[in-house]
Each structure stands twice: as structure tokens, then as C-alpha cells.
Symmetry: C2
Subunit: 143 residues, 2 copies
């Protein structure tokens, strides 16, 4: 099949497919006489795998590691488990961060319930005075 059909099967754009090829996630396919890429069932499976990992917010590095493990089928899957556990840790950490953020945001928001002038608005006062603390490093790759 051509790249458009592959992209449709994996629910992504053709640009993304070409990008994955350049990024080394998807193997370079054969070309026909017109230099068009020509894909088979293996490519569909691989691309679906990649898109599923991305839907789970894994980085290309994490995905590359999983793909590498898949290509040594005799290896033990302990590393796969570790990788997934680490990723679940990232997601948990980000949920925790965002939950704390939400508390801070509603704190700030509470400071203005009425329509008044910007000059007196408690929200802006709050945003000037708030102390963000030093703990705001990003601890996961999830934004």
C-alpha cells in the first residue's frame, strides 16, 4: 500500500509517517518505479504500535527502547515491565503536579468574585504576590 493508506490505517498524517521514518522509528520501505513508498502488513503493525505508545504519551526514546526489545524476541521482558512502570510513574507525577496547580489556581481565582476595575482585582494582586516556591522543576517529560 502507499503512504496515504498506511497513514489512514494508523490514524495519523502522511507527514507523521515520513517523520517517523526520518526519526528512525519506522523502517524505510521499498520504493516503486515512481519513487513512491510501498508498505506491507509489518509496517502497519509497527506504526500502530508507535501510535498507541504515543497515545499513552511515551517519548520517542521510550518507544525506540520498546521497539529494540521487541526485535530481540528471546530476551526476558523484565525491561519492558520496568519501562512501563517508569512511564506510569511519569504520568502519576504529572497528575500530582497538575492537581497542586489546580488548587493554586482556584485559590487565586477566589480572590475576585465581583466585577470591579482591574486595578483593584484580587486575582492580579495575587499573581504578583504569590510565591511559586522552588519546587517547580518539571519532573516528567509530560508537559
Amino acid at each position: 500500500m502507499k503512504i496515504g493508506e498506511l497513514a489512514q490505517l494508523a490514524r495519523c498524517t502522511v507527514e507523521t509517517v515520513r517523520y517517523y521514518e526520518k526519526a528512525g522509528l519506522l523502517a524505510m520501505p521499498e520504493r516503486n518505479a515512481a519513487n513512491y513508498r510501498h508498505y506491507g502488513a509489518g509496517h502497519v503493525e509497527r506504526l500502530r504500535f508507535i501510535r498507541n505508545c504515543r497515545a499513552l504519551d511515551m517519548t520517542h526514546e521510550e518507544i525506540r527502547a520498546l521497539l529494540g526489545l521487541m526485535d530481540t524476541p528471546a530476551a526476558a521482558c523484565g525491561e519492558v515491565n520496568q519501562l512501563l512502570d517508569a512511564h506510569i510513574g511519569h504520568v502519576d507525577a504529572r497528575i500530582q503536579e497538575l492537581t497542586e496547580l489546580r488548587v493554586q489556581l482556584t485559590d487565586v481565582r477566589r480572590q475576585c468574585q465581583s466585577e470591579q476595575s482591574v486595578a483593584a482585582c484580587g486575582i492580579l494582586q495575587g499573581l504578583v504576590q504569590m510565591d511559586a516556591g522552588e519546587k517547580n522543576g518539571r519532573h516528567t517529560h509530560l508537559g
Copy 2:
């Protein structure tokens, strides 16, 4: 004060301060004879405001809008409220997305509890077969 002191007061790097200046978030300060930037109390307040907004994961666009509103102090603060409510909405949406993600991840993870070969590992099978659905557009600017 010079840029290093300003950065320290706002808990960011001097590169970030210069970046905010180029991005139009922070006004260009005066320069001394040696072409060093020279800041005052107003800059500290403004930069703290920006850093606090960033700690709440607002985009530069959102911050620019808030700064614009601050600079017209007679205006009603209804727009400020709207902006903050919208941002709280983004955070809520992202927490929701990540929570669903976590469920999917633990579903996948559950498929391999034992040490076996990669070829038989249920996790990789799951990642190949999983159907991510079409609803995976990012709906917020939070990653």
C-alpha cells in the same frame, strides 16, 4: 540592579530574562555605559508576575493578555476572570486525559506479571492490538 540579581529575585536564569525581553513580555530596560541592562522595582514585580503565571502553566499568550489588561487599570476585571476560568478548564481537561491514560497504562501493564520472553509478553501484544480511538487530539496546551 543588573540582570543576574533580577533573575535571582525571580528564581529564573538570565537567559530566560533576556528571552522574555525578546518575546515582548518584559519591557526593555535602560542600559549603562557598558551596555549592561539596568532594572528597577517595576521590572522585578513584572517578572515575578510572569514567573508565577508560568508556574501555573499559562502560555505566553495568556500572560500577554493578562499583562495587557493590567496596563489598562480602569477596565473591568471580568476578562481576567474569564481568562483564569478558561485556564482552570485547561488544567482540568489535562488531568482528565492523564487519568484516562493511567487506566489504559495499568490495563496494559497487568498483561505481564511474570518474567518471560519478549515474544510472549502480553504488554507488547497489548500495545500492538490496542485501539487508541480517534479522540486523541490534544485539547489543551498542557502537554
